[in-house]
């Protein structure tokens, strides 16, 4: 780890030696990393590397939603920066429910499956703030409108009354982001937030996420397989492969001076726009390990 170089006070979230198993399979093994206040940490890896299970563990959703079991480790959450962190893995479910969606919230890859099809999107954002912030119905609706403006949904007032199927994928992801930010979370976890989107829409959402981080001051963990997305948004990077952390460091260290063979091979396989300038024939990838 390169904690020393990226030190910006106490980490807001510190994952320590996390191990998660599914039966005899270890999906996450001894994973440790720190998320510092106001920074964006990318957890990058290919399918099955354990990146999404790591995210679910932080949210306390592994044992709730899957057959997985957290067998070791800590997820230390320090909301105030006092150095007095709580281990989220030790919290009772009733207490965790106050953290989840409130102090730590999450957005997923496919907004259509994350939104309830039978309620308007405005209702769904309002529900979150009524539940966590104790606002009344009118206050919640006002807050939802405020959030829709924040994530720049055009014509927000009439959009509040729409159902998810009436919106495009990009608009639905804006709704998810509005919902996730509605309670002013300390930490936002985004699991492949742009993977299902078209490239011009992806660019919008990445731009929006970056801007919102500045305005809200949230610390962000972004889970992705896409090195292009990492380069666009991350301050710090954790590279995962086969359940373990391979390498971690600042985004510049990872892209410009990768230490591990796996990181190098991952970077070598990324097609880079503009890399073929001045040529006319197709060209093979120079793979480090074929």
């Amino acid at each position: 780890m390169t904690d020393a170089e990226t030190e910006t006070g106490n980490p807001v979230l510190s994952v320590r030696d996390l191990t998660v198993t599914f039966g005899s399979f270890t999906a996450v093994q001894d994973v440790s990393f720190d998320l510092h206040p106001g920074r964006t940490l990318a957890v990058v890896g290919e399918s099955g590397s354990g990146k999404s299970v790591t995210a679910l563990s932080i949210m306390g959703l592994v044992e709730l939603g899957t057959r997985g079991k957290v067998t070791a480790g800590q997820v230390l959450f320090d909301q105030t920066g006092s150095g007095d962190a709580v281990d989220l893995l030790e919290l009772a479910e009733a207490d965790m429910r106050k953290v989840r969606g409130n102090q730590i919230s999450m957005i997923f890859q496919e907004p259509l499956t994350s939104l309830n099809p039978v309620y308007t999107v405005g209702n769904q954002v309002a529900e979150a703030v009524m539940l966590h912030q104790g606002l009344d119905k009118d206050g919640a609706k006002e807050r939802a409108l405020e959030m829709f403006n924040l994530v720049r949904i055009p014509d927000p007032e009439s959009r509040l009354d729409q159902y998810p199927h009436e919106m495009s994928g990009g608009m639905r992801q804006r709704v998810m982001i509005a919902m996730a930010l509605s309670c002013d979370p300390t930490v936002l976890i985004a699991d492949e937030p742009t993977t299902a989107l078209d490239v011009t829409i992806q660019a919008q959402i990445l731009g929006l996420m970056r801007e919102l981080q500045t305005t809200t001051g949230a610390s962000v963990i972004i889970i992705t397989h896409d090195m292009g997305v990492v380069a666009e948004v991350a301050d710090d990077v954790v590279v995962m492969n086969r359940s373990r952390v391979v390498e971690s460091g600042s985004v510049y260290e990872i892209f410009e001076d990768p230490k591990e063979e796996y990181t190098r091979s991952l970077l070598a396989a990324v097609p880079r726009l503009g890399s073929m300038a001045g040529t006319s024939e197709p060209s093979r990838f120079n793979l480090v390990a074929d």
Binding site: T200, E232, A269, S275
Partner: protein, 306 residues
């Protein structure tokens, strides 16, 4: 649209191809008046976002969808209207590889049998040791092993499954392979391997590819020429260097600038971007404006903009 090509005696020649789907909300103008050529041994990439008509175009060329109007020629023969029996010998010349290799393989069938099937259907082989040897040869050609032939799709990784689909497509020794997002579902390192394989096969067998993709970085790597589609029409077509180094149409430029660059020092300010991809559905009595193309340099065609 006149001739958007200067390919002499192309393998595939598409003229004014159009596909419309009636829906209760109006007419979907999926593909409007598309003309393009694919030369022998060349890769023409068709790139665009969801709903631009790129897959509909691919399926019409494969004769999996009947065009509303227009013409498709394969190797000098007009195949637009010919019946399925007359089509059969032409089918051998073109094969398709889809995005999701798991959905394209019968889960209860050994993959070797899936690869042998086209040879049997076309009467090019009969069951026996000779066919088995041909299948093993195809497996080895795509980087699989001989003992993989008796396994089932679920026993393979995504990349291996796509290799099986490529082996099946190659069984009939086609001239054209239509590849519809062939690497989009694969991890990046596997994606690079499958692309390398496709390039090697092109070199060995002189294949032409119609490469359908939304991923510009991949397209830049694999293509000789590129057609950019937007709302059912081609907005720009040219050599790879034309499109990537000298893009002219505003949509091409927007698409290129949206691609995330894997270099943290080249971050772009995207904060104020907004907008949605417009719908290709047109209410009754309305229809899209057909674009005119201008040749801005040799072989580089651009749709005129208002």
């Amino acid at each position: 649209m006149s001739d958007l090509n200067d390919v002499t005696s192309p393998l595939v020649s598409v003229r004014d191809l159009t596909k419309r789907f009636p829906t209760p909300g109006g007419m979907v103008h999926a593909v409007e008046q598309v003309s393009l050529d694919v030369g022998h041994g060349e890769t023409l990439a068709v790139v665009g976002e969801s709903g631009c008509g790129k897959s509909t175009l691919a399926q019409m060329i494969m004769r999996l969808l009947k065009p509303t109007s227009g013409r498709i020629e394969l190797d000098g023969t007009d195949i637009t209207e010919i019946g399925s029996r007359a089509m059969k010998p032409h089918r051998r010349k073109m094969q398709i590889v889809f995005q999701d290799p798991f959905a394209s393989l019968d889960p209860r069938r050994q993959v070797g049998k899936a690869v042998a099937e086209p040879l049997l259907v076309h009467g090019l082989a009969s069951k026996g040791s000779e066919l088995d040897a041909t299948v093993v040869e195809l497996f080895e050609k795509v980087g699989l092993e001989a003992d993989h032939v008796n396994q089932f799709p679920h026993q393979f990784s995504g990349g291996q499954r796509q290799r099986v689909c490529i082996a099946r497509a190659l069984a009939l020794e086609p001239k054209l392979v239509v590849a519809d997002e062939p690497v989009s579902a694969l991890d990046v390192s596997i994606q690079a391997q499958v692309i390398n394989l496709m390039m090697d096969l092109q070199e060995q067998m002189g294949l032409s590819y119609l490469f359908i993709s939304h991923d510009l970085a991949v397209v830049e790597r694999v293509s000789h020429r590129v057609a950019v589609m937007y709302l059912g029409q081609i907005v720009e077509l040219g050599d790879r260097s034309h499109i990537f180094e000298n893009p002219q149409h505003s949509y091409t430029k927007r698409l290129l600038s949206a691609v995330p660059i894997a270099d943290p020092r080249r971050r772009q300010d995207r904060a104020l971007l907004s907008g949605e991809i417009p719908s290709p559905v047109w209410a009754d009595g309305t229809s899209p404006t057909l674009v005119d193309h201008v040749e801005v340099e040799s072989g580089h065609w651009v749709a005129s903009e208002d």
